[in-house]
C-alpha cells in the first residue's frame, strides 16, 4: 500500500460554540478518489475548506504531500507551495470565475504564479489545459458571462489544474449543473484523472454521482463520520442506519416514498 498523499487526523471545528466537524479522520492515496458524502449540515464542506486553508481547524492535523497544513502558512513561498499541492473547484459556476477575466487570462495568471514558463510556453500550456477539459480556443478567450454553467465549471477545473496539484477537491462541483451538462463534466473529470493521475477528494450529497466518481466513501452526519469503505460496498450493503436511509431516499425504478411514522421532524 502506498503512502497517503493526504492525511486528516482528529479534525474538529466549532463555530461560536456550535460543533461543525467532530473528530474526522481519513486518508487519500495518490491518484485515488475519495468521496465525502453527507447532507446539509453534515460538515463535509467545512472539512474541504479546512483542508485548503480557507477555514482554521479548532483541533486536529492535516498533512498533505508530507507537509503539515493545520496552521496558516508562514511565508509567501509556503502559501504558494500549498497552492501547488491541493486545489479546489467550488459548486457555483457563476461566481467561480472573475467576471472581468477570460479563461485564458485566468489560467495564465496561475501559470505565472506557479511555473517559470515564458509567454510562449504558457500559451502552449493554456491550450493543453483547455484541451484536457474540452474547451475550444474561442471559449478560452471570451468573458465568463458568455459561457454556460458547464463551460465555466470546466474553466474552473482547468484553472485548478494549472498549478499541477496532486490533489483536487471537488466541492459539490457538479451539483448545480443540468443533467446533460453534469454528465459531460463527470466524463471530463474521469478523463483528467486518467491522464494526470491527480487524486480527487469529492464532496457530494449525490450518491449516484459518487458511485460514478469515487473508489471509496466516507459518510458524514452532524459533523462526524458514520460509515466508511469502498464505494460499491457502502452503497450496496450500507451498515449504518443513516447510510441505509440515504440509500433508500434516492428515487429510482420502483421507488415509493415512505413516511417514517417514527420520526416526525422537529425543529
Amino acid at each position: 500500500m502506498t503512502e497517503a498523499i493526504l492525511e486528516v487526523e482528529g479534525l474538529h471545528k466549532t463555530f461560536k460554540g456550535a460543533v461543525a466537524v467532530a473528530d474526522v479522520s481519513f486518508s487519500l492515496r495518490p491518484g485515488a478518489a475519495l468521496a465525502v458524502v453527507g447532507e446539509s449540515g453534515s460538515g463535509k464542506t467545512t472539512v474541504a475548506r479546512m483542508i485548503v486553508g480557507l477555514e482554521r481547524p479548532t483541533a486536529g492535523r492535516i498533512t498533505a504531500c508530507g507537509h503539515d497544513r493545520s496552521h496558516p502558512p508562514r511565508s509567501v513561498r509556503e502559501r504558494r507551495r500549498r497552492g501547488g499541492e491541493i486545489q479546489i473547484v467550488f459548486q457555483d459556476p457563476y461566481s467561480s470565475l472573475d467576471p472581468r477575466q477570460s479563461p485564458a487570462t485566468a489560467v495564465d495568471e496561475i501559470l505565472r504564479l506557479h511555473t517559470r514558463l515564458d509567454a510562449a510556453g504558457r500559451r502552449r500550456r493554456v491550450a493543453e489545459l483547455a484541451d484536457l477539459v474540452g474547451l475550444d480556443e474561442r471559449q478560452m478567450n471570451v468573458l465568463p458571462s458568455e459561457l454556460s454553467g458547464g463551460q465555466r465549471q470546466r474553466v474552473a477545473i482547468a484553472r485548478a489544474l494549472a498549478a499541477e496539484p496532486q490533489i483536487l477537491i471537488l466541492d459539490e462541483s457538479v451539483a448545480a449543473l443540468d443533467v446533460s451538462i453534469q454528465a459531460q463534466v463527470l466524463n471530463v473529470l474521469a478523463g483528467v484523472r486518467e491522464r494526470t493521475g491527480v487524486a480527487y477528494l469529492f464532496i457530494s450529497h449525490d450518491l449516484a454521482v459518487v458511485r460514478q466518481v469515487a473508489d471509496e466513501i466516507v459518510v458524514m452526519r452532524g459533523g462526524s463520520i458514520v460509515e466508511r469503505g469502498p464505494t460499491a460496498q457502502v452503497l450496496d450493503n450500507p451498515r449504518h442506519p443513516y447510510t441505509r436511509l440515504l440509500r433508500t431516499s434516492v428515487p429510482g425504478p420502483g421507488w415509493r416514498p415512505a413516511r417514517r411514522a417514527t420520526r416526525k421532524e422537529t425543529q
Partner: protein
Amino acid sequence: MSGILDIDHLTVTLAGEDRPKPVLSDVSMSIAEGEAVGLVGESGSGKSMTVRSIIRLLPPGARMEGNIRVRGVDLGTLRGAALRKMRAEMPVIFQDPRAHINPVRSVGDFLTEALRIHRRMSRAAAEDRAADVLDEVGVSEARRRLRQYPHELSGGLLQRVMIASALLAEPRLLLADEPTTALDVTTQAEVMAVMDELRRERGLAMLFITHDLELAAAICDRTAVMYAGRVMEVRASASLLERPLHPYTAALATARPSIERKVDRLTTIPGRPLSAFEAPDGCAFNTRCAHVRESCREQRPELRTLLDGQVACVRVEELQAVSHD
C-alpha cells in the same frame, strides 16, 4: 376529452430586450381527475413557465396564445373575482418556500389568510383548520408553529407548511414547481411521501415539475419531457423510463449516473440545453441529436400518439426497429 386541466397549443412570448422571446412553443397536454402528471426538463425548457401560464402569473409584457381550460372553463376569459377564485382552487407549491412565504408574517397568518378572505372564516376557526392540516402533513406541535415566523423553521418544515396551505384550499388540482429541489435527499423523501399520500387519499390531480426524471416517474402516473419550450414525449411513467421513445428522453435517462453501477464513461448529449428562443428550425433537439436527419431540420415534428402516449419525433419507428433488432 376533457380532464381537470387541458392545455391546448399554448405559446408564450415574453417581452425581450430587443425582440419578443418565446419561452413556450405550442405546448399541449391534459390531466385527468385524480391523475398525477410529471413535467421534466432541464433549465430553460419552459416547465416553470407552464405553471405560471396556468395561474396567469406571467411577467409584464408576456403574450399568451392557445388556451388553458380548467374543468372545461377557459382561463383566458376569467377576470377579477372569477380569476381569483380559480387561482384559489389551484394552489402552487413553489420550490423555495423561504422566498415564497412572507418573512414578516407568522406561519399562522400565511396559512389562514386565504381561509379568512375566501371563506370568511373567523380567525379561531381558520387556525383550528390550519393546525389540523399541519398535523396531517407531519408538522409537530402545530399550535406553536402557527405563532412562529418563517425564519424559525427549517427548509423541510417550511415546505410542509407550503403543502399544508395548498391543502387548506381544498383543491382538486395541485401545481408543484420543483417542490423538493432545495431540500436534502432524506427530507425530499419525507416531503414527497407526505404529498403523495395526501394526494392519493384525497384523489387530487397534480402537475409535478422537476428536473429529476426518476423522481417524476416514481410518483406520477404519466410523465412529460420538455425541451426548448416544447413537449417531446408524454408517456406512462413506467414505460417512459424503461423504454424511452424520443432520443432526448433516452439521452436524458442515460446521462444521469446510476446509483446501482458505475460505467466507464456516461453517454452524453453534446452541447447545452437550449431555451425556446434559441431553438433551431425543425425539431428543437436537432442540434444535439445523435440520430438527426435532413428531415429533422426542415419540419417541426408534431406530437403523435404512439404506444401508451405521444412523441414528437419523425424517426421513432425506425429507431425502435433498430434497437429491437
